[in-house]
């Protein structure tokens, strides 16, 4: 049996698709795809560095879109955003199936690879929906609504549209602190930004050199509302935690506490 090859790429979606392109073109027996930053992989195996090539990536996308319905393509993109360990290789196998199997369907749930990708894509969808719910904007002095998030998966690119449509008449920033990039909407369009935070003061809502003076008052009103709308005789913390797991509390105005 031929020994396998490991591919290393820059971590971008286009980079991953370039890996797929090279693997097909050079008929590689791929047994691992890793980002350059990680030290995963087997040091004795053959390895190749793949340089991201937008044109090659685009050819894979067009090929896929011809071959499978857009819903199935969406599963590929969403599963990639999960950033789970080994997701690239799994997706590569999925894409191979899509190109090679005459009867390929993303609904062939009896096939373990197809079912797995479907389930991972669902997880990312759920996180996307969660972020659409859990983003909490705070009004800054410069009239920008600012929010910090740290989602489990890299969902910022897929929540863009939702926020752009909904908050069309206000400037806003949603910043992913875990991955250190954000979205900025300037009333015309959305763009990706990087902010070099010099301190953690942007997390302090009562800092009136950053936030509008009424900001803290609205947060208190919201907390008040959250308390008042709870029915104590129906308390069910298990259900509460199932819906709002503790890891999300940090940036939820109603669940966080601050010093007065």
């Amino acid at each position: 049996m031929k020994t396998g090859t490991q591919l290393f790429y820059d971590g971008s979606y286009e980079g991953f698709l370039t890996c797929v392109f090279s693997a097909f073109e050079e008929k590689l027996n791929v047994n691992g795809i890793f980002t350059e930053a990680t030290s995963q992989g087997n040091m004795f195996a053959k390895s190749m560095n793949i340089t991201t090539d937008l044109e090659k990536a685009q050819r894979v996308i067009s090929g896929l879109k011809r071959k499978i319905p857009s819903e199935s393509y969406r599963h590929i993109y969403f599963a990639f955003l999960s950033e789970l360990e080994g997701i690239e290789l799994l997706l590569f196998q999925y894409i191979k199936l899509a190109f090679k199997e005459e009867k390929f369907s993303s609904k062939d749930f009896g096939n373990p690879i197809i079912l797995k990708i479907n389930q991972i894509s669902k997880k990312v969808s759920r996180e996307k929906h969660r972020m659409e719910a859990f983003v909490r904007f705070q009004l800054t002095k410069d009239d920008i609504f600012y929010a910090t998030i740290e989602p489990d998966f890299n969902v910022l690119p897929v929540i863009l549209k939702h926020f752009e449509t909904r908050y069309a008449d206000q400037k806003w920033i949603i910043y992913d602190l875990k991955r250190n990039f954000g979205l900025f909407y300037n009333l015309q369009e959305c763009s990706y930004i990087n902010i070099n935070f010099k301190s953690t003061e942007h997390l302090n809502s009562s800092n009136t050199s950053i936030y509008s003076t009424s900001e803290i008052e609205f947060q208190k009103l919201w907390q008040e509302y959250f308390e008042s709308t709870n029915i104590k005789s129906r308390k069910n913390m298990k259900l509460h935690l199932q819906h709002v797991p503790k890891r999300y509390w940090k940036y939820l105005t109603e669940k966080s506490t601050w010093q007065n």
Partner: protein, 419 residues
């Protein structure tokens, strides 16, 4: 605005509004045309309270002053509580500021009835109108239809609201007489009827003239209190089925009675909320709306109340053993939906997956069926299946033995009573 005063009002008027269960923000499509907000059909729960309920809308009363004295209601006239009232502009400002911070999907505005039903309804409409026309707000608005309000006001309300609801509260007419002597059954029905008619008119006009404005695009809903007047599950669900059919309700909500008064007509203060019963009623509601069941199959003269220890689909299956076992690789979709332990998502996956290969237990478990319940009712591409000739009671015993329910403490004590 004075934040201290608003805070106090919010405290009183959110507290009084919380017994309205509905917090749904789905089912409406409203695009954002250069203003603020939208609804794309899918609701969003922005948070959850410690009781596990979704917080999607800013749910408040305009005022808790009320001229009625309904025994089950916390804002009844005779109750000695703090009263407050919001100004129209205050509600508008709160909604806008909460929405801009992504706290909520919109507003759910209800009210105690001050002065007259029409004055109250008119004020609710004013808030919605202001949000839509002056603030260019396209988020979700749910208004309460005030019992006894005029058809003209209901007509106007639907032009600004996504959903309208009037709560039946007491499922039986006799119960209503007992607990709310000054309210008439017809008063509840009247606005419901008006809204239903308007929805139908606007929908048929829309087919001809595309620019017809939206009228209550997310439809109507209602709510019933359960466990206040000794009604049976059959009473509750037959009423629900009637409202679904007659008034084309989008949802009927069931609210386990929370004691709010010392009144000999009602369960005493401190009695536990019938949460398990409420849960079984919702399961039944789902079986009606999504699984193709007729209410008479689930509740009838022989079965007036739902089993507490097992879910209603399993109860039904145990009473109708002649249909089972079903071959999962051949059976009709509607029949698979009737198998205990197989939900609609799994039904869909099974139907798709079996086009490509015959499914065995491994496949089914990975797809996510509840094997412990389903195994007695299906066969698949495998030689191992339940071959014993088990009675329904035996099956129920086996299933309960292998399951853990968070409600177990609630019904096990009841069982021991009869032993």
């Amino acid at each position: 605005m004075s934040f201290e005063r608003i805070k106090e009002k919010l405290n009183i008027l959110a507290d009084a509004a919380k017994y309205d269960i509905s917090c749904s923000s789905s089912g409406s499509k409203r695009a954002n045309k250069g203003g603020l907000g939208n609804s794309d059909g899918v609701g969003i729960c922005h948070s959850y309270t410690e009781d596990g309920r979704c917080v999607s809308l800013l749910k408040i009363l305009l005022t808790n002053h009320c001229i009625f004295d309904c025994a089950y209601c916390v804002t009844r006239k005779s109750n000695d509580i703090k009263r407050a009232a919001f100004k129209v502009q205050e509600v508008v400002d709160l909604t806008m500021n909460f929405y801009r911070r992504n706290y909520i999907e919109g507003l759910f505005l209800s009210s105690g009835i001050f002065n007259s039903p029409d004055t109250t309804m008119e004020r609710l409409v004013q808030v919605a109108k202001k949000l839509r026309l002056e603030e260019n707000f396209n988020g979700y608005i749910h208004l309460k239809s005030i019992p006894g309000a005029s058809d003209e006001l209901m007509q106007e309300a639907g032009l600004y609201a996504d959903r309208l609801s009037v709560n039946i509260e007491i499922p039986t007419v006799s119960g209503l007489k007992l607990l709310a002597p000054d309210k008439k059954h017809e008063d509840f029905i009247k606005p419901m009827e008006a809204v239903k008619n308007s929805i139908q008119i606007y929908q048929s006009e829309k087919k001809i003239i595309k620019s017809t404005p939206k009228y209550a695009p997310a439809g109507q809903s209602t709510q019933m209190i359960v466990g206040a007047t000794g009604e049976s599950d059959r009473d509750v669900m037959y009423s629900a089925a009637y409202y679904y059919k007659k008034y084309k309700m989008k949802r009927v909500y069931y609210s386990g009675y929370i004691p709010v008064a010392n009144d000999s007509r009602l369960p005493a203060l401190g009695s536990p909320v019938p949460l398990l019963r409420e849960n079984r009623l919702y399961q039944t509601d789902w079986l009606l709306r999504f699984y193709g069941f007729d209410i008479r199959e689930l509740l009838n003269n022989e079965n007036q109340n739902l089993d507490l220890d097992i879910d209603p689909k399993l109860s039904w299956a145990l009473r109708n053993r002649e249909i089972f076992p079903l071959d999962i690789n051949r059976a009709d979709k509607l029949l698979i939906a009737r198998v205990p332990g197989i939900g609609l998502k799994s039904v869909h996956k099974i139907i798709e997956a079996r086009k490509y290969r015959k499914l065995n237990w491994e496949h089914l478990k990975k797809i996510g069926i509840a094997y412990n319940r389903a195994r007695y009712f299906i066969t698949c591409d495998s030689n191992s299946f339940e071959k014993r000739d088990l009675s329904s009671i035996q099956i129920k015993g086996l299933i309960l033995q292998n399951s853990t329910s968070k409600f177990r403490k609630d019904y096990s004590s009841q069982l021991s009573l009869f032993n």
